[in-house]
């Protein structure tokens, strides 16, 4: 299969100048290049306005532990116990309507007291705004399940349980999802070796 098999439908005219792409490193380096190389440094951690965060601050100021901004995203660290009321409020408040939980996952920081961070990326289909929520739990400490608020959390929480070993309180069907039921350990924990346990025979050559 060669590139010449399907020639563009041009009439077989006289062999004029071949139709060159005006693309590649063209000989005349036009001074008006669309983008001069060094882009201005942007402050990625700049604060951005967020109606969701404002509403959250007004109603649940005592539940907010901290807030961080990065690349236009707002991430709110919440008290664990406040998670369910906050989520319910965010979903049901008509001016916010964060009805779509896009992603839920856990992050492992083994050196911390509360080693797991559970992250929720919530969007509003109608208003097209978003917010990231976070809670922290210790090893074996159950995190509140949000399945009663967004049903999509079901498999996400099962996956976090499977790969990180975070139990979710109030989950209807908490069992392993990707790994087999008899699997030992939780691979996404930092102390779990990438090649797994008992894999000494799998050496890099």
């Amino acid at each position: 299969m060669t590139d010449e098999e399907k020639p563009p439908s041009t009439p077989p005219g006289p062999p004029g100048p071949p139709e060159q792409e005006k693309a590649a490193p063209a000989p005349p380096p036009t001074p008006a290049a669309p983008r001069p190389a060094p882009a201005p440094k942007v402050n990625l951690a700049a604060e951005v306005a967020s109606p969701v965060f404002d509403a959250l601050k007004a109603k649940f100021s005592e539940a907010i532990q901290s807030v961080s901004f990065y690349a236009g995203e707002v991430t709110v660290l919440l008290e664990k116990d406040a998670l369910l009321p906050v989520c319910r409020f965010l979903k049901e408040e008509p001016s916010l309507r964060l009805d779509y939980l896009s992603n839920l996952c856990g992050v492992d920081f083994p050196e911390r007291d509360k080693r797991f961070e559970i992250v929720y990326h919530v969007f509003s289909i109608q208003h097209r705004h978003r917010i990231n929520l976070k809670i922290r739990v210790a090893d074996q400490e159950p995190a509140p399940s949000v399945v009663s608020i967004w049903r999509t959390a079901n498999w996400h929480e099962r996956e976090a349980f499977d790969l990180l070993g975070v139990p979710f309180e109030g989950h209807p069907d908490l069992r392993r999802i990707l790994l087999t039921d008899e699997w030992q350990g939780h691979p996404l924990r930092k102390e779990y070796p990438t090649r797994g346990y008992d894999r000494d025979h799998l050496k890099l050559r």
């Binding site: 590139d3 669309p34 882009a39 990065y70 996952c105």
Partner: protein, 365 residues
């Protein structure tokens, strides 16, 4: 004297119409499905774990292997996420070429879906027609990046190379002929009585359930919800193109078919505009060889052919991500399957899995 019992039956993991290694445990009352347990993980490779020990350049080939039917989108989402993390903007020409390849990929992916979905239901001809045109797109990709399935086509900050001479003319040629080819598929299916009988009213998923289950992409839009990330949260240069977001009304398999068919037409529209506006210039921004984004975390989404592709990266300022998470549309959409097939016939399960358009590499990661 006589009594009836529920029967458990396994569908998959080796079943041609589960599109890979999906295993369903169906509980049947006669021929009616009363409950479904979806068992996945047969293709789990622990990509998220592997990414934690690879630097940012080395991860991109791994993303190819997630959704291998639409690997361009995995590449696109990944590089855009890292660019967002670093605050880098690729050159205009690179953005346009990304859009062109990505929309070609959407058509190719929808063609695989259409061919296999029709094949599952019993219409064999469509499959050959679809793969004829998909082949043309794969040839274009091969000319662009050398690969036909796992492209690794983009780089953080732009593209590794410009397109070869004459490539855009070949794309223009494809854009010209494809609408007619698409009409051929439609003559075979759209008003076909058997097709209508197999797909109309099957696998109902109402709008509020779809949102609740996190279902995105054509399945959500077939339920009448206008949510397309290219519109709702425009990324790359998608805010410069005119296109419609097709919506369904009846929330069934047939509407999902119509929505996807219309999406292909809209992709052609986007391609036409992108080819027209394609600027000249560089294709690679100035990025360091060793990518070390500052400490921070981003969650970025793009609209893949199957729905919302999300990428979550936690960076601690090292040359490798601390945590990498792929939010795959197949995984999340599959979750709605038990709800969609409850109370339907066993034969319809196949007609419901089809338009969910799952790719097991994407489900299991």
């Amino acid at each position: 004297m006589f009594r009836t019992e529920m029967m458990d039956i396994n569908m998959g993991p080796q079943h041609p119409s589960t599109h890979g290694v999906l295993r369903l445990k169906l509980t049947l009352d006669g021929e009616i499905v009363t409950d479904t347990d979806v068992l996945i993980g047969y293709l789990h490779r622990g990509v998220e774990k592997l990414c934690e020990s690879k630097n940012y350049h080395m991860i991109e080939p791994y993303t190819d292997r997630l959704d291998y039917v639409a690997a361009m989108y995995e590449n696109l989402g990944y590089v855009e996420t890292v660019e967002k993390l670093m605050g880098v903007k690729p050159p205009e020409r690179a953005e346009y070429l990304r859009v062109i390849t990505a929309e070609l990929q959407r058509i190719a992916s929808h063609l695989v879906w259409l061919g296999t979905h029709a094949l599952d239901i019993g219409a064999m001809t469509v499959f050959f027609y679809c793969f004829r045109e998909r082949e043309m797109i794969l040839d274009l990709f091969e000319a662009f990046c050398g690969a036909r399935l796992t492209y690794n086509a983009y780089r953080i900050g732009g593209l590794p190379w410009d397109v070869p001479p004459g490539w855009t003319d070949r794309v223009k040629h494809f854009v010209q002929i494809f609408p007619d080819r698409q009409k051929e598929y439609e003559t075979l299916l759209t008003k076909n009585r058997i097709w209508l009988g197999r797909t109309k009213g099957v696998g109902i998923l109402k709008a509020e359930d779809a949102i609740d289950f996190g279902v995105t992409g054509p399945c959500l839009r077939a339920a009448g919800v206008s949510y397309d990330i290219r519109r709702a949260h425009p990324y790359s240069v998608y805010d410069r193109f005119q296109f419609d977001v097709p919506l369904g009304e009846n929330c069934d398999t047939y509407d999902r078919y119509l929505v996807r068919m219309e999406e292909m037409r809209q992709s052609i529209r986007i391609l036409q505009q992108a080819l027209e506006q394609l600027p000249a210039g560089e294709v690679m921004a100035k990025v360091p060889k060793r990518i070390k984004p500052p400490a921070g975390e981003v969650y970025h989404t793009v609209e893949g052919p199957r729905g919302e592709l999300g990428f979550y990266i936690v960076s601690l300022g090292e040359d490798r991500p601390y945590r990498m998470r792929f939010r795959s549309p197949s995984f999340v959409n599959l979750q709605a399957l038990p709800h969609m097939v409850r109370g339907s016939l066993v034969a319809d399960v196949v007609a419901v899995i089809g338009p969910l358009d799952i790719v097991l590499g994407d489900v299991d990661r």
